[in-house]
């Protein structure tokens, strides 16, 4: 059935007047769907760069001793890898791409509350990236402090910290603007009848995330301004020779950076909550507990930051307090997992690519989460801190949790965004290659770390060689899988079969409009007096055609 609707790719609203040039129509567009795509293109370009950096690091580490890069370059490599992956890729991550695209659609709205601020957040994001890139080449060394820029090294080192931190500040500002927008949108633009407890769970994930973006990011913002002030004006807040305390910087840094990881995982959990009921074709088990657990994770997650500092000289008293709170924050996450598994119980499960990714993530994220509890035990952490055990833990959690679910979401909403379908068989093959490569790459690091291999070291003792070699081979399998996956998706865009409005037979509002959506999103906004994920005998209860009737086009908003 051919798609006779005009999509948002063909018409859009812009700032600074009307533009004839297609490029300007994109970069000046205030349509949340276009902004989402622009974010996605920039983010994944830099993801690729960061992956290449990681590959070169793993290549250096194949043998002990120096091969392709010396220690200074290695330090710059993992710093840049971390800055890109964290600030440029995973923090904007799901909210800036899938969130921007889907939030208004899932709420039954025509856009976010502040579309111009949405576009501004994208430009600020790009500006931040330019500043970070400039710090690599401007008149000195690239930053080499690690993405965590601990003092006193960050206040004393000769590398371009001020530029890099300015970039990080701008990237944080972009994140705050997105969060602010999503909070207002969720409160104000829900379709009539849709109370908070009738919203899709992806929205709940984005909403909880937005509060973290808004309340936690300013803390790191002011912290890096203070580091800049210290470098430029000699304000001695973190300098021991002036009475300052480097551990205070660690405290302030992690006060943001720990909630930041919840900001990463909550939208990802939201994606899982969308995919599971769709591919099990039954209502999600425990909707309310999943929704509330998102809020709980966000709330408790503010109070566990000290578990990054068990060995940094904080008091034993507060270390124990943080350890207890860390164990506590695992509880709401487990509630979600129980709910998802309960949803799958006695369901007729369709094992298409999005479901495969979600289930694969359950395995890898549980490993990441449980090793987090191991690290959250103070006595054990004294031994494991700053080893490869930590590196493996957070890659299992962030890469094997957030990114894998992002891939799941990409495959799930691919037909909605592009109007086409990718090859299902190649999607599955890509998943298995990536899954195998991922575990070959990261699992040996748990062992190496437990045996004492330190992190951020460009060289190592000979007894660790075998683990590094297995990991490096794993990295090649993993990257091959990534390329395979992206080629499959690209081919889907170019030559995929038309997908229709609802290829997965899903229930949420975005599936009741054409693929790709029209510029106005909806013709008629529905009155929502039903829960999401309502299935009876495997079929959605509500079928709606909410498309804009283009034979009677009215006037648009200015």
């Amino acid at each position: 059935m051919s798609n006779t609707h005009t999509s948002f790719y063909q018409e859009t609203h812009t700032v600074f007047g009307h533009h004839n040039n297609k490029f300007l129509q994109w970069i000046f567009s205030i349509d949340h769907k276009r902004i989402a795509i622009m974010y996605g293109i920039v983010m994944f370009s830099f993801f690729a760069i960061a992956v290449l950096i990681a590959l070169s690091m793993r290549l250096e580490l194949f043998y002990p001793g120096q091969q392709i890069m010396g220690p200074q370059t290695y330090n710059e490599a993992f710093t840049l890898h971390g800055i890109i992956m964290i600030f440029i890729f995973i923090v904007p991550g799901i909210p800036a791409t899938l969130g921007n695209f889907l939030l208004p659609l899932q709420l039954g709205a025509r856009d976010v509350s502040f579309p111009r601020i949405n576009l501004l957040s994208f430009w600020v994001f790009v500006l931040g990236i330019i500043a970070v890139l400039a710090s690599l080449f401007w008149n000195g060394n690239a930053p080499d402090t690690g993405w965590t820029f601990y003092a006193p090294y960050s206040t004393k080192t000769g590398s371009n910290i001020v530029l890099a931190l300015t970039g990080a500040y701008l990237l944080g500002l972009a994140s705050i603007l997105t969060g602010l927008n999503f909070i207002a949108t969720t409160h104000r633009l829900r379709a009539p009848g849709m109370g908070f407890f009738k919203m899709p769970l992806f929205v709940w994930g984005l909403y909880a995330t937005s509060w973290i973006q808004v309340l936690a990011t300013p803390i790191v913002g002011i912290t890096l301004i203070l580091v800049i002030l210290e470098r430029v004006f000699g304000v001695g807040v973190f300098d021991p020779t002036k009475g300052g305390d480097p551990v205070l910087l660690e405290n302030l840094f992690w006060m943001y950076s720990h909630p930041a990881v919840y900001l990463m995982i909550l939208p990802a959990f939201g994606i899982a909550s969308e995919i599971i009921p769709t591919f099990c074709r039954k209502p999600v088990f425990g909707y309310h507990s999943i929704a509330i657990s998102s809020a709980l994770i966000a709330f408790i997650g503010y109070m566990v930051w000290g578990h990054h500092m068990f060995t940094s000289g904080e008091s034993n008293t507060v270390a124990l307090v943080f350890s207890v709170l860390t164990f506590l924050v695992a509880v709401p996450t487990s509630i979600k997992f129980f709910d998802w598994i309960a949803t799958m119980y006695k369901a007729s499960i369709v094992f298409d690519t999005p479901m495969l990714w979600t289930l694969g993530t359950f395995i890898t994220f549980i490993i990441g989460g449980m090793t987090g509890l191991i690290l959250g035990s103070v006595g054990v952490d004294v031994y494991f801190h700053d080893t490869y055990f930590v590196v493996a833990h957070f890659h299992y959690a962030i890469l094997g949790g957030v990114v894998f679910l992002m891939f799941a979401g990409m495959h799930y909403w691919f037909p909605k965004v592009t109007g086409k379908m990718y090859s299902e068989i190649h999607g599955k093959i890509a998943f298995y290659i990536i899954f195998v490569g991922f575990n070959v790459l990261w699992f040996p690091m748990f062992v190496a770390g437990a045996l004492g291999m330190p992190r951020r070291y460009f060289d190592y003792l000979p007894q660790f060689t075998i683990y590094h070699q297995i990991a490096t081979i794993g990295s090649w399998i993993f990257v091959f899988g990534l390329i395979y996956m992206f080629v499959n998706l690209y081919k889907g865009i170019k030559k995929g079969k038309p997908a229709g409005p609802n290829p997965w037979n899903a229930t949420t509002l975005e599936w009741q409009i054409p693929s790709p959506p029209q510029a106005e999103n909806f013709g008629t906004i529905p009155y929502v007096d039903f829960m999401p994920y309502e299935y009876i005998k495997g079929e959605p209860v509500h079928h709606m055609d909410l498309s804009v009737d283009e034979s009677r086009k009215g006037t648009h908003h200015g």
Partner: protein
């Protein structure tokens, strides 16, 4: 409920603005005079000054920023953020009190 609620305008009574201004003025004078008229040690000075400051802030937030007449959600946002900051202060305070002192567990 219309989203464009300017239709429900009523005349603003500015009396409350002046009353609060008067209170803030008095409190400001008190705060400046305190170290002169009633000098005390640093801890007590901080306590008195912060008490006055928080009172002034409560007045500004409630009346000038209209939190008093606002929907409960605004009150939740402001109190929630204050509580969040407070929890951070408490955790840092625990660490500061215990770090490298005899108050720590397992010294």
């Amino acid at each position: 409920m219309t989203s464009n609620s300017n239709k429900n305008l009523h005349m603003i009574d500015t009396t409350i603005y002046f009353k609060v201004f008067g209170l803030l003025l008095i409190l400001t004078i008190v705060t400046i005079l305190q170290p002169i008229v009633f000098h005390t040690d640093l801890r007590n000075t901080y306590a008195i000054q912060m008490l006055i400051s928080f009172t002034k802030v409560a007045l500004v937030v409630s009346y000038y920023m209209h939190i008093k007449g606002s929907k409960p959600f605004y009150k939740l946002m402001v109190f929630g953020t204050t509580a969040l900051l407070f929890s951070m202060y408490v955790l840092i305070a625990i660490d500061t009190y215990a770090r490298h002192t005899n108050n720590d567990i397992f010294k």
